[in-house]
Amino acid sequence: MAGTLDKDGVVVCRCEEVTQEEVRAWIAKGYHTFDELKRVLRVGMGPCQGRGCRDIILRELSQATGAPLTEIYPGVIRPPVKPIKLGLCAYGKETEMKECAK
């Protein structure tokens, strides 16, 4: 089905440009948790932190392993919840951040 949409396949992780085919191939190699796929494929490591790909990949894992989706461990989500600028983390204020960047 993927081939009918795009010759390079369906991209499931846009941050790291990982396709559904790649995800399926690595699941077939025995990587049966989201955390492991993240380590070998970088899915979920980009700026969106898995917001785009996590649900899709969990569904792929469920289909491949036969385990219900509710039993697939979604992996760990770490702070900060949204990407924020280092200057804001350090100084908490835009003005001081600009001072620092001089």
Binding site: R39, P79, P83, K85, C89
Partner: protein, 384 residues
Amino acid sequence: MSGHRTADAIIVGGGVHGCSAAWHLAKEGLKVVLFEAGYLSSGGSGRSAAGLRQHFGTEVNCRLAKYNLECFPTLGEDLGLGDEYNLEFAQWGYLWVAYSDASYEQLEKNVKLQNSLDIPSEMLSPAEMKRRWPYFRVDRMTGGAFCHQDGHINPHTLTIAYGKAAEKSGAFVKTFTPVEKLLESGGKITGVQAAGETWSAPRVLLTAGPWSTPLAATVGVDLPVTPERHNLLVTEQIEPFNCPMTLCLDDGAYFKQLPNGSFFLGRDDPDEPKTMISGNSAKFLHGVTNSVLARFPGLSGVRVVHQWSGPYDVTPDHQAIIDWTPLEGLWTNCGWSGHGLQFGPSGGRLAKEMFFGEQTFVDIHNFRLSRFEEGDLFEEPAFI
């Protein structure tokens, strides 16, 4: 094999040292079983900042580090995995920055030792650092030590690739299978109990980082290895400009760019809990960004995507314990105190040489377990 549950060697811990040892031993035709409580690299190895350096202040570490750096460039091929796992090996250098005369003198001593062992490190003045890396703020710096051969590797794919290569060589790699206890009889190790099953082997190697201590205690072996939680953060990807790993000796802050363009930022915090349980604090985020932006203000507009933590396995002298224990057949490779990931290549080779009773390729008597009892500590001056 599963019916027998026996092996020539059992390895406990699927970090880089356990996986490398499994590969080295399986290649020799031995029956090797490796147990890992989670997935490969889920302990300290995968949480590492994964710096590769030859900057050490003790001869044994320099010699082993030189060997590691000789292995990394061709490791993918040597493991027989082609480019299946992207190891992200890069040699953008490693810089130690001194902010006092005392730490400058220590760096000079270290570099002198390194140069005597053919490691091409060099001392740099603040002006020279500013020339090479114009984006650094060099005020207060007294100087730095730099080695251009040093660099970075992906700690996850490195560990997993060693594990996969071990499997291809015939090792059984059992992930998500925690070892509950070691088993002994008559003063000898006899195997392990893992996931309720008994596995027998005349030799057991402990490579479980800080988890080695409670496991060794199950057979009465005392390891002076304790956990210490350390934090890291990673940023979004920006255009790579080969920013070297840079370590600031005033407060232990460090940063580097990765081959994909992301930055790693880390910093020591003596208030962090001494635990193997990971967790994150806003205090770290605030402290590390403050400290790193003071040296590299240009990063202030780059976004942090996540932070994580992992345990060091710390010994009283910040040196590893690579030795046979008093219990016959049980040996350890743990206690690396924060610089262990990069020693995966030499750690595996040493495990193989020790298994066969060969002379090790580097003299490692300084890493013996009895040094703590003897009061003969072997301090590594270059640890972070």
